[in-house]
Symmetry: D2
Subunit: 283 residues, 4 copies
């Protein structure tokens, strides 16, 4: 309840940590976790994520935000200040294959994903029962490339109505338009079923099979307008061999996709991921 | 001393294993290890590798080869029959970075690579001391793309003189010509410092850094005329994060390159690798 | 439908594979997969698992079993012959924590576990809804060490009624009596939440935390009368560090437990696991 | 040259980071890397490691140490302040098996281990050539349990003469006495060839084979007087299966031992390891 998070990036120089920690101390906040990174101590960019415990944070939060503006100006900081009690609201997009959705719902039920899953949107009906069984609103919006604009208008409307902070594409097999992406910068998390940058685009398991790789993988990344080129949040792989046909690769891959996406979403919800120059810093 | 290996590939049909195992039994050979694979039991291609122990193999080997011709004809087999006492002769090519060479020499000294390392060829002098210290002939042949034909002529001459079966490119940073490759089909093993097909070509660690991947890898493959497109024998990866700059990626990668190449060479020497349609079956 | 499996173990000697493969060929069976292992080619024990495709297996199966008796006698074989269409029947035992049960149900729904899940038995009510929702009979049998005999009598009765081949302890937190174990040799698969033989017995995550290990693991094994000492089928681990408290270890561990148990059960159902001298051969 | 490291542990309370970072800023030091951990924000113990760049550190170091005493007193800190240019001096102890020693020498030659390897002590002669070839003093001190006191007296004398900071037991197969251990608290790093706490004591690979584990491992830990019970720094594992006999396990294990020990030594040299209640915090 009294937990807060401060994320800052700014040009590196001596004194940043001193200023921030002095600021937090002045509110009697105790730093619980702190991670920092500098692209280069000489003239590079500095990033820090601080998680702190602050008595009566609810009452102080507004004032803290206002007071921090001054420090931010002094060091030319980009920053965000988020009390943990302000839970993020998530929308999940899914198509026919449910394994990634199910993994997210499972982790959410176990208390491992601290978010409100506000709605699930799908271009198929397969997920309806399990989603509605958990009392989560389910919206069936058929989609194909000919009606993309119209579909996305409906989706954006729903996201707005539900006040969504995070959009997870849990194997949603439709390409989003630049318009949709631009409306949600660094807010859309996708799972791609290969270890990027290998096998960008469609049918990665088929192509992995043709190439005869000995490892298959999955990659979770933020969506940008370059297909499968957005900042990578997490990747993992599993070993395969000549006996694995395409169907076997898909089965093995499902398990990697599930865990990679779940980790990426979790880190995003915990404000651990910072995007910088199309790469991520994961604290 | 009495150990032999039989590798066979042919159209799949019932009766193949019966015929081969009956043949081996007629020489009183005991099957020690047997691995098989079929691309498709219905009309696919069948592969088998059998390692056996046969009393007095030295005396029988010639006769066995002659007698097997008949079975091979019956099932339209491609096959090879190799007594283990006929040790393969290996040439290692290396440039300035020695970690892969050192790993191979180390494993060879420990008795883990059963081969004669007949010579080391390099376009630099860095490796001379360690190679000659082990009483292995070292040949310094400066190379660059302008004198490629002439350099390869010298190399091919040396390979012929030393009666070489296997060529290992242990971070040899020169491209081989189609002529050289054609002269050594499925005999040249390369280590590429990325998880192929990601980062084909030059400077993979630099590109991995730019892309912000969370895994880096290495791939050992047979060399064909399509750069980094040959049949993959083995791959592995290591986790990295935003803190790893290019130099750090290279350090982490060296350790993967070492072990991936050593495994691939070992499997090749043990006749465990079969190439089929630009992919490998590793038994 | 025409798929069959033959498992054999016997003293190693030349001619075994020849005899078996000749036998299968005489029924026009095509060998699809074959794995073998010998503890020692000189006087050791030989193991083989053959999966084959045999036209009209249903009609031939009885005759094949009878005819194989002769070969078996000749080589002193222990053997089993199982048509794949004879699906095994599984009982799952569970307590309060459902993650392992859910993983098995999930894999079963995806078609990855070929078995009839005939019933679920629990000493708690937590699993009832999900189990009955899939139309699987659920039996609530409260248990504690004082009423063990009586509880097991009920359980054994149910197992008999449902004609059970495999019992999976999916985090069933009760110890079984020697009587129960003896009635089901190599048929009870347990998941233990540590990498055995480390942390045998109760509260492994607490003890892993106290010891400060950098890896936690899970082990699936057959149940014998020596607690956590039965033949190990599969193990896996995950990295942890000083920041992981006991609760965090449990969360990370759940994911390993799920996948380790699922793999072990799958291999058992596919007749890939042979027990020999309190160890397993996994083909 | 201007790089320094500050390690602190003290009772957790608000204001610690503010005080330390203010102190460093007052010397115009720029924090390059900072890691912290608290066993419990409410009344637990707080740990922090800060690496910083400070202009003219050589001139300021003495003064900084003196001035820090005051802050340390205020927060009841245990602390160490180490300029990176004060390179640690390492002694390596080895017996007959050289793989761990060779890995350390290799990493040291590559510049990955920043230390002076001041001497190698062995109870066998196997390592002499390679050690002396690198111009490192080699001392042959035969050892067995009957002459332990005398042997250790010689060793301690050598350690003193060479002003040693770190002792690495790179497969040194002798047990150290409490006297020796007490003289070098948290300074002796051992590699044990199992994933502790499994297979404490002698012949772990033989016992792993007997138990039929599917994973083998290695553990690097500080030496205490409880055999193989000291604080664990690093562990890793590799998969094995029924085909691996004891000899094969040892081969596979050697590769894990090498990398686990090298990582542990590297982290220790970089002052990343803090011991707390027989566990390590690795920053």
């Amino acid at each position: 309840q009294n937990r807060g998070r401060l994320l800052v990036s700014c040009p590196d120089q001596p004194g940043i940590v001193a200023a921030i920690s002095q600021f937090l101390f002045s509110y009697n906040a105790n730093i619980i976790e702190s991670n920092q990174y500098s692209t280069n101590p000489e003239g590079g960019r500095f990033f820090i994520r601080i998680e702190f415990e602050c008595p009566s944070l609810k009452d102080k939060a507004k004032d803290m935000k206002q007071q921090f503006v001054e420090i931010a100006a002094q060091f030319s900081m980009e920053w965000s200040f988020r009390p943990v009690f302000e839970v993020k609201r998530t929308a999940i997009f899914v198509s026919k294959e449910l394994h990634c959705l199910l993994e997210l719902l499972w982790e959410w039920q176990s208390g491992d994903l601290l978010t409100d899953i506000a709605l699930v949107i799908s271009n198929h009906e397969e997920a309806r029962d399990v989603v509605e069984g958990l009392n989560i609103p389910f919206y069936y919006i058929p989609a194909n490339k000919d009606i993309r604009a119209e579909v996305e208008a409906k989706q954006l409307q729903l996201l707005k109505e539900h006040d969504i902070d995070v959009i997870v594409l849990a194997r949603y097999m439709q390409i989003l338009t630049p318009n949709f992406v631009a409306a949600n910068p660094n807010k859309i998390i996708n799972i791609h079923h290969s270890f990027l940058p290998a096998f960008i685009g469609a049918r990665p398991y088929e192509r992995a099979y043709s190439r005869g790789v000995k490892l298959i993988g999955a990659t979770s990344h933020y969506v940008t307008n370059d297909l499968d080129e957005g900042p990578i949040i997490e990747q993992d792989i599993a070993r395969v061999d000549h006996r694995s046909n395409v169907e076997a690769l898909k089965k093995i891959g499902r398990s990697i996709e599930r865990s990679v996406l779940a980790r990426a979403v979790k880190w995003h919800l915990e404000d651990r991921v910072i995007v910088h120059q199309n790469k991520t810093i994961v604290f």
